[in-house]
C-alpha cells in the first residue's frame, strides 16, 4: 500500500482532493489583511530595534570567559571608562566573549576605550574586535536598500509580464511579495530582534524567494488555462486546480529551502554569530510567508483580477447557459429514467454516461453556435 503522504499528493494532483483556494479567497484575504495591519501597527507602536549599523555607534567584542556575574562586573567597570558619556551596553556572547556597545567614537576615544576594554577582559588590545560606524552610514544603507527594492520591483514586474505575457500576474505577484515583506518586518517588530545589514540581506532575498514560489504557481496556472475558451472550466477553477497541483511541490521546495536556512539560524544562534542568526531568522519568516502568499494570495488575486475581464464574464455566462441546458436535458432524462425504473430498469449505472453525454452535448452546441 502507498503511504498516506503519497496518496495525498496524488489526490491533490488529480483533483480528487481539492481545497478551494479561490472560492475561500475572501477568508484568506481577511487573514492576510489582519496580519498586514497588525504588522504595520506593531511597526508604528513598537518600532524596529535598529542595530548600530543604522544608528551609528561602536561595537566592541573581546574574548572573555563568561561566568555568573561577569556581565554585571563588566557593566560596573564599563561605567568608569575614561571617555565620558559612553552609554555602554554590555552583553555576553555565548560563554567566550563579551560585547560592549557605545555611542559613536572618534579615533582617539576609540583607541582609549579599546585599550581599557582589553584591560577589563585581560587580553591584548589587538584581540578586541570592534566595528565603528559613523552616524551617516545607516542613512546610506537604508537609502541603498530602498533603491534596490524599487529597482527590483520594477524589473521583476517587467520580467513576469514579459515571460507570462500577462501584466495582471505581475500585479498579483508584487502584492504577494509586499505582503511577505510587511509580515517579516512585523515579526521583527514583534520579537524585537535587532535589524542589521544581515536583516536587510535576508529581506531582499525573500523578495526573490517569494517570487520564485509564485512563478511556479503561475506557470502551472498558465498551463491549465491554455485554451480556456474551448472548455467548460472557468479561470478560477483552473487556477484552483493549479494551486492544488503545485501545493506538494510548493511544500517540498519550501521545506528544502528552509532546511539550510534553519541550519544557518541554529548554527548562528548556537555559536553566537549574530550575523548568521539574523539572516537565518529573516529568511525563515520570509520563506514561510512566501510559500503561504503564493498559494493563498497571489493565485486567488490573479483569478479575481482575470475573472473581471469582459471576456471571462462572457465565458462564464456561456458555461452557465450550457449547464442550464444540460440540466434541463438531465431532468428530462431523469424523468425518463424514473419511468424506466418503475418499469424495473437498472438505474444506478446512469451516472457515468450522463456526465459524458453532457460534455459532448455542449460541444456540439458550441459548434452549432459558431456556424
Amino acid at each position: 500500500m502507498s503511504t498516506p503522504k503519497m496518496s495525498i499528493a496524488h489526490r491533490l494532483y488529480t483533483g480528487h482532493l481539492s481545497y478551494d483556494f479561490i472560492k475561500h479567497r475572501r477568508q484568506w484575504f481577511i487573514v492576510s489583511g489582519v496580519l498586514v495591519v497588525a504588522s504595520i501597527l506593531l511597526l508604528l507602536v513598537r518600532g524596529l530595534t535598529l542595530g548600530i549599523e543604522f544608528t551609528g555607534g561602536t561595537d566592541f567584542q573581546a574574548p572573555m570567559k563568561i561566568e555568573a556575574g561577569t556581565v554585571d562586573a563588566v557593566r560596573a567597570q564599563a561605567a568608569d571608562l575614561t571617555v565620558s558619556d559612553l552609554e555602554p551596553q554590555v552583553f555576553s556572547l555565548g560563554e567566550t566573549a563579551i560585547r560592549i556597545q557605545t555611542r559613536t567614537l572618534d579615533t582617539e576615544e576609540l583607541q582609549t576605550t579599546r585599550a581599557e576594554i582589553a584591560q577589563i577582559a585581560g587580553v591584548d588590545s589587538s584581540e578586541v574586535a570592534y566595528n565603528a560606524i559613523g552616524a551617516s552610514w545607516g542613512k546610506e544603507i537604508s537609502r541603498q536598500g530602498v533603491i534596490a527594492l524599487l529597482v527590483f520591483t520594477v524589473l521583476v514586474m517587467l520580467l513576469i509580464a514579459v515571460y507570462f505575457r500577462d501584466w495582471k500576474m505581475s500585479i498579483a505577484a508584487i502584492v504577494a511579495v509586499a505582503h511577505d515583506l510587511i509580515v517579516t518586518v512585523g515579526v521583527y517588530a514583534a520579537v524585537g530582534f535587532t535589524v542589521t545589514p544581515s536583516t536587510v540581506i535576508g529581506v531582499l532575498t525573500i523578495l526573490g524567494y517569494s517570487l520564485y514560489d509564485t512563478v511556479v504557481v503561475f506557470d502551472k496556472i498558465r498551463e491549465n488555462v491554455h485554451g480556456l475558451e474551448e472548455t467548460n472550466h472557468t479561470y478560477s477553477e483552473q487556477a484552483n486546480l493549479a494551486v492544488n497541483q503545485v501545493i506538494v511541490r510548493s511544500i517540498n521546495t519550501t521545506v528544502i529551502g528552509i532546511i539550510p536556512v534553519v541550519a544557518l539560524f541554529v548554527a548562528g544562534t548556537w555559536l553566537q554569530s549574530a550575523q548568521l542568526a539574523d539572516l537565518g531568522l529573516a529568511l525563515l519568516v520570509g520563506m514561510i510567508a512566501g510559500a503561504y502568499s503564493s498559494l493563498f494570495i497571489a493565485a486567488p488575486l490573479l483569478a479575481w483580477l482575470r475573472e473581471r475581464e469582459p471576456g471571462m464574464v462572457k465565458h462564464r455566462e456561456q458555461i452557465q447557459r450550457r449547464a442550464e441546458r444540460a440540466e434541463r436535458k438531465a431532468a428530462q432524462r431523469e424523468a425518463e429514467a424514473l419511468a424506466l425504473a418503475t418499469a424495473g430498469g437498472p438505474a444506478p449505472v446512469e451516472t457515468a454516461p450522463r456526465q459524458q453525454r453532457r460534455t459532448s452535448g455542449s460541444r456540439a452546441e458550441r459548434k452549432g453556435r459558431k456556424k
Binding site: S7, H10, V128, E140, L155, G208, E223, V261, A267, L271
Partner: protein, 538 residues
C-alpha cells in the same frame, strides 16, 4: 533541435560537463591555489570604509585619493592591503592581519608635503626585491600624543625659521643615518630635523635638511606646455609666507654646488622630485622643468596640488576582527553549510528514495563547482569569501535543491497523467525547464541588483548568490538532467523499482501504465483503489 540531439547522448553531455569541472581543478592545481581568498571578517584584519564628506566628488579626485591612500597603506608594510573605490564617494581599505589602530589614523590623515634642501644624495638600493618592503615608508600623521608612535624618535611639529634651515649643516649623526639608510626604512617626516628619504622607486636616496616650506603654503599647482616651449613643465604658486620662504630657499641654493643646489619635494616621506632652481623665485610662482612626460608632469602637479587628499573623508565604518574571532566565524559558517547540505540530502532520500542519489550527486557537483569558482575568482578578480558570502552560498543550496524538486515533481506529474516513466523523464524535463529558467532568472535578477546597488557585506552575499544560481542552472542542465536520463535506462529506475522513488504505487498508477504497456488514458485513473478509498476518507 538541440534538445533532441542531447536526448540521444546524455552520457556525452555529462562527461563534458564533468571534464570542465575537472579542468577547473587542474587550473587550481597549476596555480597552486587550493583555498578561496578569505574576507577579513573570516581571517581577521581591518576594513575601513571612508566616505567623502561632500556629496559631489569627481571620479578623478576619488581615484587620486585612492592612489594616495594606497601609497600610505603600502607604506605601513602591512602586506596585501587593498584600497578600492566603491560607488561614487566611498573608498574601502582592507588590510588583513591588522588589528592595531594606526591604519585608521593613517588613511584619513592629511599628507605631509614639504620642500626641503638637499644635503647629500646617493644611489638608493633600487627597487626592493622583497615585495613586502615598499620604498619610502611614511608614518602616520604626527598624533597629538607623540608617544603613540613607539618606534622612531619623537616628533616635534615645530618648523624652523628659513634662516635656521639654510644654516643647517649635516651632523655626524645625520651622515651616519644617511650611510646606514636602506630605501624602505621608516621615515619620520619631522619638519625640524634632517631626514633621509628615497625617491619613489628607491633609485636615489637623499639626506634632506629641515623643512624650508610646508606643503600647506602651496596655493595651487598645474602642468602644461608653455607657449613657445616644447616640453612639459609643472607650475606652482605659493601663499605669501611660503613665497618668502621659497624666495630665500631658491636664492640660497643658487650659490651652492651639486648636490646641495637642489631642493626636494617630499610627500609622506617620499622624494617626489629633486629640483635645481635656475633663478631665484621671488613672486612665489615657480616653474619646474625637466624631462617630464604628460603623465609624470600630471602626477607631480597632482601630488603638489593634493598633497593632502583631494577630498575630505570621514571613516564611516571601521571593522576590526581579530584572527581568533574570524576563524570562529568561518567555522560557524562551514558548520551551517554542512548541516544544510546533509539535511537536504537526508530529506531528499526520505522523500525521493533512489532519486535522492541524483540530488546528492548534483549537490556535490554544484558544491565542488562553486568551490572551484570561488578559488579561481579569488586569484583572477580578487574575489574574497566573506561571512555574508557563505550565507549566500547556503541560500544557494536551497535554490539548487529547488530546481531538482521542480524537475522531479514534474516527472511525477507526467506519470500521474498516465505517461510511461521513460517518456515522463523527457516530457517532465521539457515542462520543468521553463519553470527552472524563469525562477532562476528571478533569483539572478535579485542578486545582480543587490550587487550593483548594495554596499558593504551585502555585496559579498549578492555575489555568491548570483554565482551559485548560475552554477545551479549549469548543473541542472548539464548534469542532473543527463544523469536522470541515463538512470532512466537502468532497470532499477527505468522500471520503477520499489526504492527508486518512481514506483507505480507511489505515483498512484498501475505498473503497466508506468512502463507504457497500455494505451494512454485521456483521464487519470479514476477507478484506482487507493483513489476511491481516500475519496471516501475525505
Amino acid at each position: 533541435m538541440a534538445t533532441s540531439a542531447k536526448r540521444g547522448r546524455p552520457g556525452v553531455v555529462l562527461t563534458v560537463f564533468l571534464l570542465i569541472i575537472v579542468g577547473l581543478y587542474l587550473i587550481m592545481g597549476l596555480t597552486k591555489t587550493w583555498a578561496p581568498k578569505l574576507g577579513l571578517d573570516l581571517q581577521g584584519g581591518q576594513t575601513i570604509t571612508l566616505t567623502a564628506t561632500s556629496e559631489n566628488v569627481t571620479p578623478e579626485s576619488l581615484e587620486l585619493a585612492r592612489n594616495i591612500i594606497q601609497q600610505r597603506v603600502d607604506g605601513l608594510g602591512v602586506g596585501e592591503a587593498t584600497v578600492a573605490v566603491q560607488g561614487d564617494r566611498r573608498i574601502v581599505v582592507s588590510a588583513p592581519n591588522v588589528t592595531s589602530d594606526d591604519l585608521v589614523e593613517l588613511v584619513g590623515a592629511t599628507a605631509q608635503l614639504s620642500f626641503r634642501p638637499v644635503l647629500q644624495s646617493g644611489a638608493g638600493t633600487g627597487p626592493s626585491d622583497d615585495a613586502d618592503a615598499v620604498p619610502g615608508l611614511p608614518t602616520p600623521a604626527p598624533s597629538p600624543e607623540p608617544s603613540a608612535s613607539a618606534d622612531g624618535p619623537s616628533v616635534d611639529n615645530e618648523q624652523l625659521s628659513i634662516d635656521e634651515v639654510l644654516a643647517y649643516t649635516a651632523t655626524e649623526e645625520d651622515l651616519e643615518n644617511f650611510a646606514n639608510f636602506v630605501c624602505g626604512d621608516t621615515v619620520v617626516d619631522d619638519p625640524s630635523r634632517a631626514i633621509v628619504a628615497c625617491d619613489d622607486e628607491g633609485t636615489y636616496k637623499y639626506l634632506l635638511g629641515p623643512t624650508a616650506v610646508l606643503g600647506t603654503e602651496l596655493d595651487t599647482a598645474a602642468y602644461g606646455i608653455p607657449t613657445g616651449d616644447l616640453s612639459y613643465v609643472v607650475t606652482l604658486s605659493l601663499k605669501s609666507t611660503g613665497a618668502e620662504q621659497f624666495k630665500q630657499l631658491t636664492g640660497a641654493l643658487l650659490d651652492k654646488t651639486s648636490p646641495e643646489n637642489l631642493f626636494a619635494i617630499v610627500l609622506d616621506g617620499i622624494v617626489e622630485s629633486a629640483v635645481e632652481p635656475q633663478v631665484q623665485i621671488t613672486n612665489g610662482e615657480a616653474q619646474i622643468s625637466g624631462s617630464f612626460t604628460a603623465d609624470s608632469a600630471a602626477s607631480l602637479a597632482n601630488v603638489l596640488k593634493y598633497g593632502s587628499l583631494p577630498v575630505s573623508f570621514e571613516p564611516s565604518q571601521v571593522e576590526t576582527v581579530s584572527a581568533t574571532l574570524g576563524g570562529e566565524q568561518l567555522r560557524v559558517g562551514i558548520i551551517a553549510g554542512l548541516i544544510g547540505i546533509a539535511a537536504v540530502a537526508l530529506y531528499s532520500f526520505i522523500y525521493y528514495r533512489g532519486m535522492g542519489i541524483v540530488v546528492v550527486a548534483s549537490l556535490v557537483v554544484a558544491a565542488s563547482a562553486t568551490y572551484a569558482m570561488m578559488v579561481l575568482l579569488g586569484s583572477a578578480v580578487g574575489f574574497s569569501l566573506s561571512l555574508a558570502g557563505i550565507a549566500g552560498a547556503i541560500v544557494g543550496i536551497a535554490v539548487t535543491a529547488d530546481s531538482f524538486v521542480i524537475y522531479f515533481e514534474r516527472i511525477r506529474d507526467e506519470i500521474r497523467d498516465g505517461r510511461s516513466l521513460r517518456s515522463s523523464l523527457v516530457s517532465g524535463w521539457e515542462k520543468a525547464r521553463g519553470t527552472i529558467i524563469i525562477s532562476d532568472a528571478v533569483s539572478l535578477l535579485s542578486a545582480v541588483i543587490l550587487f550593483i546597488v548594495a554596499i558593504g557585506s551585502v555585496k559579498g552575499f549578492a555575489f555568491t548568490l548570483g554565482l551559485t544560481t548560475m552554477i545551479d542552472l549549469a548543473v541542472v542542465f548539464f548534469f542532473t538532467k543527463p544523469l536522470v536520463q541515463l538512470l532512466g535506462r537502468t532497470k532499477f529506475f527505468g522500471e520503477g523499482h520499489k526504492w527508486s522513488g518512481l514506483d507505480a504505487e507511489h505515483m498512484g498508477v498501475s505498473r503497466d501504465s508506468l512502463l507504457g504497456r497500455r494505451l494512454r488514458r485521456r483521464t487519470p485513473v479514476t477507478h484506482d483503489v487507493t483513489a476511491t478509498q481516500t475519496t471516501q476518507e475525505a
